[in-house]
């Protein structure tokens, strides 16, 4: 009885969350071009997708940006988390507050403000502005993930390392880094997906020479439903599922 009651409360939300995705994936195999009715199974949209060089290029650009942004943000985010965790310094509260502000800022505000920054320093929109923007909005998420893992650890381990004569850097390298590694990887994956996901900020800082996937999709969707967009979306959902599984396994080691 209780199980039934619980299911009745959980199921509608899962249906709501997954039904559109399921329909989308199903229609990516539909041979009807106008995708209103089921006309039989086909792979043709996937082959068509592979032949669409504009889309493939946008996808590669997105992957490049996401990989680089996630890596740089992980590096800086870890340094920031460790600094916040270990040191008491002037402006520490300010730093924490500003991280929180960056995390909570509506995307559009961040997009506009970065656009102004890049215009002010004379950078033309494209790869570099896009990369720095992505790094910036990923950092707080890495820091939050790593910081919460650091808080869960026994501070005596660090004291022990220091008592044994390890300097700050060696303590970081041999004690802290191995401890936080799963959180770093989880933060990296989170950044990667955030970067792949971002529409609004990228919209403002990238130019016509450097197109990324979400913006390409945005343009295509605005012009109407296209079956190769379904195929592309289905692939991206698949990639996300893999990423979530991996990061979940990493975070589970925590306990």
């Amino acid at each position: 009885m209780r199980v039934l009651w619980n299911t009745a409360r959980l199921l509608p939300v899962y249906v709501f969350l997954y039904l559109p995705l399921a329909v989308l994936i199903t229609f990516s195999f539909n041979s009807s071009k106008y995708s209103t009715a089921w006309k039989g199974f086909t792979w043709q949209w996937y082959t068509k997708l592979a032949a669409n060089s504009q889309l493939v290029e946008a996808a590669l650009n997105s992957l490049t940006i996401a990989t680089l942004a996630a890596s740089i943000a992980s590096g800086l985010g870890v340094l920031l988390a460790v600094a916040l965790f270990r040191y008491r310094f002037k402006g520490r509260d300010m730093m924490q507050a500003s991280l929180f502000v960056v995390m909570m800022s509506p995307d559009i505000v961040m997009g506009v403000s970065l656009l102004l920054l890049f215009v002010a320093v004379g950078m033309s929109p494209g790869f570099w502005p896009l990369l720095t923007a992505h790094v910036t909005f990923c950092i707080p998420f890495v820091t939050a993930t790593v910081y919460s893992r650091l808080k869960g650890f026994d501070p005596h381990l660090i004291e022990a390392a220091e008592d044994l004569g390890a300097g700050e850097f060696r303590t970081f390298r041999h004690v802290i880094l191995p401890m936080i590694m799963p959180a770093v990887l989880a933060g990296w994956l989170l950044s990667f997906t955030l970067s792949m996901d971002d529409v609004i900020i990228s919209f403002f800082v990238t130019g016509p020479d450097f197109e990324i996937l979400p913006l390409r999709i945005f343009a295509m969707v605005k012009m109407g439903v296209k079956p190769d967009v379904n195929a592309l979306s289905a692939i991206m959902v698949g990639i996300t599922v893999c990423c979530v599984f991996v990061s979940h396994l990493l975070m589970r080691k925590r306990k």
Partner: protein
């Protein structure tokens, strides 16, 4: 020892540097731009004026702002109503499948939100799933398209932002001490009274965090109203985007952006106060 100081300096200095350049400076630039004048040739002229704010104290913008707040608040309420029973049930279930069930919530949260918005088109369009289902149930007698309506925007916002509400509430319910609920029951409180006086106040930080995490993005969203609302429901997000990229009125766009930031800071301040009152630290947000 020198080496140690170096590490400390690099980590703090590097972080401060990055935040100053890419978080503080851009926001100051927006603030500055909002007080300057529009210029046809170079977009912005270094002449102080309040034209930007003049443009947003216009009834048109105030209408847009009101509409945005209405849509964002409505979506937040819908998310809360859908998420609370769900997160509560999930967090208090005693099953080994719980991690898996939670992960199933995370997957949409991490899926490209544009793609999820796009997926909704299949549900909302005429002859889409919703219309077909209603037809089959006999609630309507000919296919109805839900696209380009306010309902579509509400559904789209709720759909995209729901996980942001579920996760913080889940983690606050998970921390709930069972003994307190038992104590309330032992003292004769009914289920409703226990919920009202024990569960609800204790999970309030999660609710507030969730509401903020839904309300703020909903306010600045522009692609959901563009794609599902057909551009009919102009929101602050669309307004700012248009001022910057279409009508090229940067001071007005910057001023609107400043208003949005102020609204965010106000909400965060409220959140901070309520969290402090509830004896919780704001550190390490609900993610």
């Amino acid at each position: 020892m020198n080496n140690s100081k170096l590490f400390k300096r690099i980590s703090i200095g590097g972080a401060a540097f990055w935040l100053a350049i890419f978080a503080l400076a851009p926001n100051l630039l927006v603030l500055a731009a909002s007080f300057l004048t529009r210029d046809e040739a170079s977009l912005i002229a270094p002449v102080l004026s309040l034209d930007g704010y003049g443009a947003i104290f216009d009834p048109v913008f105030l209408g847009v702002l009101g509409k945005s707040i209405y849509l964002a608040a409505g979506s937040t309420l819908l998310c809360l109503l859908a998420a609370y029973p769900f997160a509560y049930t999930l967090a208090r279930m005693k099953t080994r499948f719980r991690p898996l069930l939670l992960m199933l919530v995370m997957i949409p949260f991490w899926t490209n939100s544009l793609i999820r918005t796009y997926a909704l088109v299949f549900i909302l369009k005429s002859k889409g799933l919703l219309s077909t289902a209603l037809l089959w149930l006999g609630l309507i007698d000919k296919p109805v398209s839900f696209m380009y309506t306010e309902t579509a925007v509400f559904i789209g916002m709720t759909y995209t932002l729901l996980p942001f509400m579920i996760l913080p509430i889940f983690s606050s319910v998970e921390k709930l001490d069972n003994r307190l609920l038992e104590a309330a029951g032992d003292l004769g409180a009914s289920k409703y009274k226990t919920f009202r006086h024990v569960t609800l106040p204790l999970t309030m930080p999660g609710i507030i965090a969730g509401c903020m995490m839904v309300f703020l993005p909903a306010l600045g969203m522009f692609y959901i109203p563009d794609l599902l609302g057909g551009g009919k429901n102009l929101l602050v997000g669309n307004f700012i985007k248009n001022q910057f990229l279409v009508s090229r009125n940067w001071p007005a766009g910057a001023a609107a952006s400043v208003v949005l930031t102020m609204l965010m800071l106000l909400l965060m301040w409220g959140y901070h106060l309520s969290a402090k009152r509830l004896g919780k630290k704001t550190e390490g947000t609900a993610l």
